[in-house]
Symmetry: C2
């Protein structure tokens, strides 16, 4: 049986859960190794792993999974009312995904499978997904490499007089035409005063001389996401920008050393918060987030998280300072948690980039 399913089954066993109904598309994608755009659910029963899908996807799924996976692929048209009711016969507790199933879907599930006791699973698969295996890391690395290449392209592409929107389009276009499956989120291109908003939406503002530009972008490769931010400069770097840039960069580099197995996430975040405070700034958003099949996944990287980092988690480190009504600086890498420290998977320079 594939290792991810074995791991999940063991976890379920320790929690006295006899079976599970998995409907969240990222979780199904993770366990079966299929694109998340495929509409399929996965039933973990005592006897089998059953993937239920429809005619559109049967062939595609059967091409991807192997005998070794031990997954039965079934066309929903061939599943009778009785079949549904029998899948979990003689099972006690059946797990479900309480954070993504709607109230109505929950009700239908109880009815369809004739469940007596559905139990919450508290993000059991999302937690499993935190630790990446070699294939997953390779996919994220590849997504990061495409992102680095896109940045290189942008340094030649961006011209004074272009709008933020035009640059944002170029990013989307570059990703889709250069090997990525898709963007992993809508690119942020925020120039001049617009950079003072952490989650700016690209506008019709034109790039001007001596602008500061925050570019936050990422793509997907085999379903896995990258996430990178660089703050760059037009024609030159104003001294006020330089001071803030240096402070953000110092902290971003500091976090890379600390992104290691066993490190408390709270203390990692506080490291930056405290240093920013020394200079009168606040870290107004989270320091980062997990990255994988989804652009935001576990662990949340903020002072509210009481857990520790583990080797082979992939997170972002993205400290930022936003000077209200004036400008902002954010520097972000996608980072692999290592035994002794973090490895940035995005490799674009963090020196001043002046276009």
């Amino acid at each position: 049986m594939n290792e991810k399913l074995v791991y999940l089954r063991n976890k379920l066993k320790t929690q006295n859960i006899d079976g599970m109904i998995i409907t969240n598309s990222s979780n199904v994608s993770y366990l079966l190794g299929i694109p998340s755009s495929i509409e399929a659910i996965l039933l973990i029963t005592k006897k089998e792993n059953i993937c239920i899908t429809d005619a559109r996807y049967i062939e595609l799924i059967n091409k991807i999974i192997t005998v070794y996976d031990e997954i039965v692929v079934t066309n929903i048209k061939d599943v009778s009312k009785d079949d549904f009711e029998n899948y979990f016969a003689f099972h006690e507790n059946i797990g479900f995904e309480e954070y993504t199933l709607t109230y109505m879907e929950y009700k239908k599930m109880m009815h369809t499978y004739k469940l007596n006791n559905a139990v919450e699973t508290d993000k059991i698969i999302e937690k499993q997904r935190m630790i990446k295996d070699d294939d997953e890391i390779q996919n994220i690395k590849k997504a990061c490499e495409i992102t680095d290449n896109c940045f290189k392209h942008l340094t030649n592409f961006i011209q004074i007089g272009m709008t933020e929107k035009e640059i944002a389009f170029e990013i989307e276009k570059y990703f889709k035409l250069n090997g990525a499956d898709d963007i992993s989120f809508k690119p942020i291109v925020a120039s001049g005063v617009n950079s003072s908003v952490p989650h700016a939406i690209p506008t019709d503002k034109k790039i001007e001389e001596f602008d500061i530009i925050t570019i936050d972008m990422g793509c997907k490769y085999n379903g896995y996401c990258s996430d990178m931010t660089r703050t760059i400069f037009v024609k030159g770097v104003k001294p006020e920008y330089k001071a803030v840039y240096d402070l953000v960069l110092k902290n971003q580099l500091l976090t890379l050393d600390e992104i290691k197995d066993g490190k408390s996430i709270k203390s990692l975040s506080q490291l930056v918060e405290n240093d920013f405070k020394l200079y009168g700034y606040d870290l107004v958003h989270s320091l980062g987030h997990g990255v994988g099949l989804q652009i935001h996944e576990m662990p949340a990287v903020s002072a509210k998280n009481d857990t520790n980092l583990k080797q082979n988690e992939v997170i972002t480190s993205e400290p930022g300072i936003y000077v209200f009504g004036r400008f902002g600086v954010r520097i972000e890498d996608t980072v692999l948690v290592g035994k002794e420290g973090g490895t940035a998977l995005t490799n674009t320079t963090k020196d001043y980039v002046i276009i």
Copy 2:
């Protein structure tokens, strides 16, 4: 009080529902007239309409709503545990949105508001949203106009040798740079054999001589969507394409006459299904769907829907024929349901377009 809230309150009253917790962003957007990107919820209590949001949006919402709306806008930071518990004190049945609230959100809702009796509301607001008022129709018209203009642009833009992906990008770019808020869904550009799949994803396939190209696209204006499909030809129309095109077009035009107040949706769909069958084809997807703040909303336009069309609903009519492994034709307009017949709001020609 704004008319949409008055209407909803009356509906709730007839169902003995004393209050409602509205969390679905499209529904909140509809009732308050605010962009759906704003994070806010709406509480309908016996005494008040309360919009709860956070510091980021307070100012923006207060700019949009007027005293006439009778909506209290509150910062969630100023709402105490007691406030939450008191909102629905002395209320019997509190409605919630069972189709969009997750199981976990439902549980939290019960706890936060200390509810005894939360009742399902069976898409009460989604049903209200089916009938569009003048402002909504104007917004959809404007989105359709931008879509027509985009099509005109494409007839000059598309060249032999371009990829489907490049054309899909141009569509996105055109919309965002020419007055639309956003695309309403990812554009479909499917050429040659790729057009034989109803929901094709643009590929790296290049446009060739004598290709048939299906272009399905739409944008948003003030939050309201357009949706249009045209099937066009390169250099000339092969006879096999012509026969299928004519059959699809005949049916699409037929539906426009029948998209009128009181028309049974089932019989509208069967009209096309039956005519296709005469020629050995099946209608493999729904004939259409409602369009508004969401690209797919009520009513579903298929033989499974037992309701009748009503004046001022906006739906699509999009019959399509797909010849397995060879090609497909789909023609779609966004259509306003009128007293005597439908008015296509997308006005691009349906004659053979040869580029």
